[in-house]
Amino acid sequence: MNTPRNKNNQEYPESIYFNGSDYFQILLDRHIKKNKGIGNIGCLIFEIEKGKTDLKAFVSKKVASTFIKWLSSIYLKNTLISPPIWKIKSQSVGEVLTYTKAREPVIYDQKNFPTFKLEAAGLIKVELIETEIKNHLIFYWHHALFDAKGAEFVARYLIGDVEHMDIENYVPAFEQWPLRDLLDDAKNVKSFLMKNRGVEVSTCDPLDEKEASQIAYHVIPFTEEETLQIKKKAQTYTRLAISPFYLGATSFLLQEVIKSKNQRLVSFQIPVPQDKRKRGIFQPGIGNQVSYLFFRLYPQHFTSFKETIDEINRQLKDQIKERIPKKYAGLMSLFLKLPIQVYEYIVKGPTKGKLASFYFSDTGQSLKLDGNSPFVVLDATHLPPANKLPGFTIVFMEFEGRLKIVIAYATNRLNAKDLLYFEKEFRHLLL
């Protein structure tokens, strides 16, 4: 078989290096499936204005391109004797694109997600739904293959915002970590992670292993004016980064909900992803290019909203000073050498299997298009992977100057009253 090449004569590789963060995403996939969820699957939805260009014809052409064919042929090869690696399947992997004409508005629900099997390729899917008033392009991906930035890059390619595919930079280079530094860093970050070993990690409800995982999404939109107002208010709490303001509001409200259900709050443990890519480019596109900051909050940090944010800011600065995200990336790369079962045992230990109190992500303004696309995107929404444990995942995202909060919640953990509370109180705290 001839190796496919792009327009610049760059070869599409037949295997791709795996990184520690990808391996962590596989661990999360196992964690979700063990808790009766569908897996570690992300989803981006673009609402597109009906215009002159035929979206179906345009996207079909893109899906038939060498790039998308190659991308959808990637599968995981993982054996007990060798570290995991991405490989390319030579046989056809089935349909990537589906098209539906619908009378009803599109409802954001995890029930509509496809399922993926890492070892079988076909780890991306594209769905086009045409309704009476607008079109929807929905992009699903397995989170072990790439992170939300990587997904965004593919989605941009599909709607024509990205034309050129620079394969050399799209595929990650092998990460060479000096072993001595790696071991020092691993020791350091391990002691940081183990500080709280044995302390109960609070989630929004106790776990019942027999219950099915039913996830729904709730979106809280803000106008452009409100978004500006929020940014102005955030400045009075936290000068440089807006994320502590959002994380503070989320933690503050979730602990109120927990208390309202007569549950005891012992500790919140929240891993927050940090993009490791150099700024100004999207590459590499394959692989999870993230590390993590870890926030720990206790009842004494919830005496006021300001106190919560001050504590988050303090921990943020301390961790950046101690280079925790960089060291944690090193530790994750060391874990690549372990069988997944051993890795799972080590990672779940400090939190007694829970991993986190909730998942939080601030994706910023990254969905803003550059204007090369022939389509007008009216709105974009990121639906994160989620399951019943911990039952609460939240994304703060901005599209065309408008902030949007997406809450993924377990329907058997939070009810309509809780969601109304979040809606009302987020507006109150942020505005």
Partner: protein, 88 residues
């Protein structure tokens, strides 16, 4: 804090740090470049502030880290020099 630093040196050091640690090699970083304009997010700005603290011992309090003061390497250097002078 070292008394041998001046604004020009500080600008150069900040630009060097941004180039080597934070942005892609294609990105041009000048003293007057807008930090947001070259793609830096708020976490990157925290890294720059902590770099000043680590390398020059200039610990900038939150109150002076206004959007205007962290607009560019030049404005940040100016603010850091002025703050350091007040502390001496």
């Amino acid at each position: 804090m070292s008394i041998n630093i001046n604004q020009e040196l500080l600008e150069k050091e900040i630009c060097g740090f941004i180039k080597s640690e934070l942005v892609a090699k294609e990105i041009v970083v000048e003293p007057t470049s807008s930090l947001s304009g070259i793609g830096l997010d708020s976490f990157s700005k925290i890294e720059i502030v902590l770099f000043l603290e680590r390398k020059f011992g200039i610990e900038l309090p939150d109150e002076i880290l206004t959007p205007e003061n962290i607009e560019s390497p030049s404005s940040l250097s100016k603010c850091a020099i002025e703050y350091a002078a007040q502390q001496e």
